[in-house]
């Protein structure tokens, strides 16, 4: 923030990113900048490539062409082994939670802490407990992931993503399959993380209510490109009928 020049404040930048998976040309030149400390929400039809785009940011997928720059580092030029420092700064919550099913919820949440080199047992226990309380799972820490409900698994995934307090957190549909109350808890948590720790968040969601609560800016992915990018107010005022239909949930199909 103290650094000179506006571009210094860009945390994530995608430039003309293309990706083909199988026969599908999924990303067709995505351009996007995420500022440091902002919460950017990505919306778009299901199967449009939102998860794929997110995986490019953390280096799980490689762009066929184009550039992915995270905190000033070119991800597309890096070898897997060299990504460790970036991955210490960015954590990700998977759409399907991707919990380690051989470990309890607590062990899952403790895992990134242990792997980041923290050895103090008490500190680990306290931070795990704190993260579980944030997602309202404190009593379920001893359970195995297979014995959790869908929403609980999702929340355990969120706890594991936030426990390290990375500079940037990627959430892939954090509030899907959660009831409205718990959704609000998660939304408030994302807001609090931003306020308190100045954390950059990239959130993929289909939950319009949640989106308007947390978003500083919203990007809509459609046909492999960013079709809309702007603040929530600009989104409401958008004249693009497609954007309108999407946020209002009008499919044009009639009974």
């Amino acid at each position: 923030m103290s650094k000179a020049g506006l571009d210094q404040d860009v945390f994530i930048e995608l430039r003309q990113v293309h990706k083909t998976l199988g026969w599908q040309h999924i990303l067709r030149g995505v351009d996007l900048k995420v500022m440091r400390g902002e919460t950017l929400v990505i919306i778009g039809p299901s199967g449009e490539g939102k998860t794929v785009m997110m995986k490019h940011v953390i280096g799980l997928m490689r762009a066929d062409s184009g550039e992915v720059i995270v905190d000033g580092v070119h991800m597309e030029k890096m070898r897997e082994r060299e990504m460790r420092p970036i991955r210490a700064k960015v954590s990700m919550m998977f759409q399907n939670a991707a919990l380690f099913d051989a470990m309890t919820v607590e062990e899952n949440v403790a895992f990134p802490l242990v792997e980041s080199g923290i050895r103090d047992r008490k500190e680990i226990r306290d931070r795990v407990q704190e993260a579980l309380e944030v997602v309202d799972l404190a009593e379920h820490g001893k359970k195995l992931p297979v014995n959790l409900s869908g929403g609980m698994r999702k929340r355990a995934g969120i706890a594991r993503a936030i426990v390290t307090r990375s500079q940037c957190i990627l959430y892939d549909e954090p509030t899907a399959s959660l009831d409205p109350m718990v959704s609000d808890v998660i939304d408030q948590m994302i807001l609090r993380m931003q306020k308190r720790y100045h954390i950059t968040s990239l959130v993929v969601t289909h939950d319009m209510k949640s989106m308007f609560k947390i978003a500083n800016r919203i990007a809509m992915l459609k046909d492999g490109v960013i079709r809309f990018l702007g603040t929530p107010d600009e989104l409401r005022a958008s004249s693009d009928p497609l954007v309108h239909d999407f946020i209002e949930g009008r499919s044009g199909v009639t009974a």
Binding site: K55, I58, G59, L60, E80, R81, M83, R84, R87, A88, S91, M92, F94, N96, A98, L99, F100, D101, F111, P112, E115, S116
Partner: protein
């Protein structure tokens, strides 16, 4: 033209496969140089692989020893050389039957488990989750299994051979009423520790083959549960065949260093 193309294609696939295994070895080397030794995971794997495979290996060894003794004894008696049964059985068990049969059983049991465990983690994105947290999946998942197998396999083979010899002793001494000294003298005279060493070295190499092949299948798994099933089957088949083929070359090589029946 097509007929010529097919063998070429298969050969290229084979080279490609070897290349992937070599890459896995490279990753293991890298992870070894990182110097992160996950002792707890290694211990866990030794229990799962070594301790857990004992029943399989003991039963395999014992019944191989028993049936081989039974067959040999019947034939040897015709020639009046039944006293050398102990020696023949011991050499065969130490050098070939023990390591190969126990190795095949472990390839089935442990190879399948490795491919299925790692494959499931792959298709449920748990491996991606590891990567995102900056943890190298090869170092975290393959390395401990690799070390555990290198430690466990020679011991399992030795155990299998031991029970094979005990069974052989039981069959000759109690089944055919051969005086124990006869059996023992010939066995001790014609075998020595190098024969056991050959078996254990083979076990060590088989352990490496099983781990590499099975973990590779796991890491490459795709297409959900079906893919994991296919990978698991493939792991067992490839590991078993590779084990048999490598056994042939190992026998030749090891016989050069540890000649068979070196009695002095």
């Amino acid at each position: 033209m097509e007929l010529l193309r097919l063998p070429g294609r298969l050969f290229l696939d084979f080279l490609h496969y070897l290349g992937q295994l070599a890459a896995l070895v490279g990753d293991l080397g890298y992870s070894a140089r990182q110097g992160i030794l996950r002792l707890k995971m290694v211990a866990h794997q030794i229990v799962a692989i070594g301790y857990g495979s004992q029943t399989v290996v003991v039963v395999t060894g014992a019944f191989t020893g028993a049936v081989f003794t039974f067959q040999t004894y019947t034939k040897f008696k015709e020639f009046g050389v039944e006293s050398s049964v102990g020696a023949i059985v011991a050499i065969a068990l130490c050098r070939e039957l023990g390591p190969v049969l126990a190795g095949l059983m472990v390839a089935g049991r442990v190879g399948a488990a490795m491919a299925a465990d790692i494959g499931t983690m792959k298709v449920t994105e748990q491996i991606d989750a590891l990567r995102v947290m900056g943890v190298d999946p090869v170092g975290y998942l393959v390395m401990p299994r690799f070390i555990a197998m290198m430690i466990s396999m020679p011991l399992l083979i030795a155990e299998s051979i031991t029970f094979g010899l005990l069974a052989s002793y039981a069959v000759t001494v109690y089944g055919y009423q051969v005086p124990p000294p006869w059996f023992m003298t010939h066995m001790v005279e014609h075998t020595n520790m190098t024969d056991l060493a050959v078996g254990m070295i083979k076990g060590f190499v088989f352990g490496i083959i099983i781990t590499l092949v099975s973990c590779h299948q796991g890491l490459m798994a795709k297409d959900g549960a079906v893919g994991v099933g296919i990978g698991t089957t493939r792991a067992v088949v490839i590991a078993s065949l590779a084990l048999l083929v490598s056994n042939f070359f190992l026998s030749i090589l090891l016989n050069y260093f540890f000649p068979m029946g070196a009695t002095s």
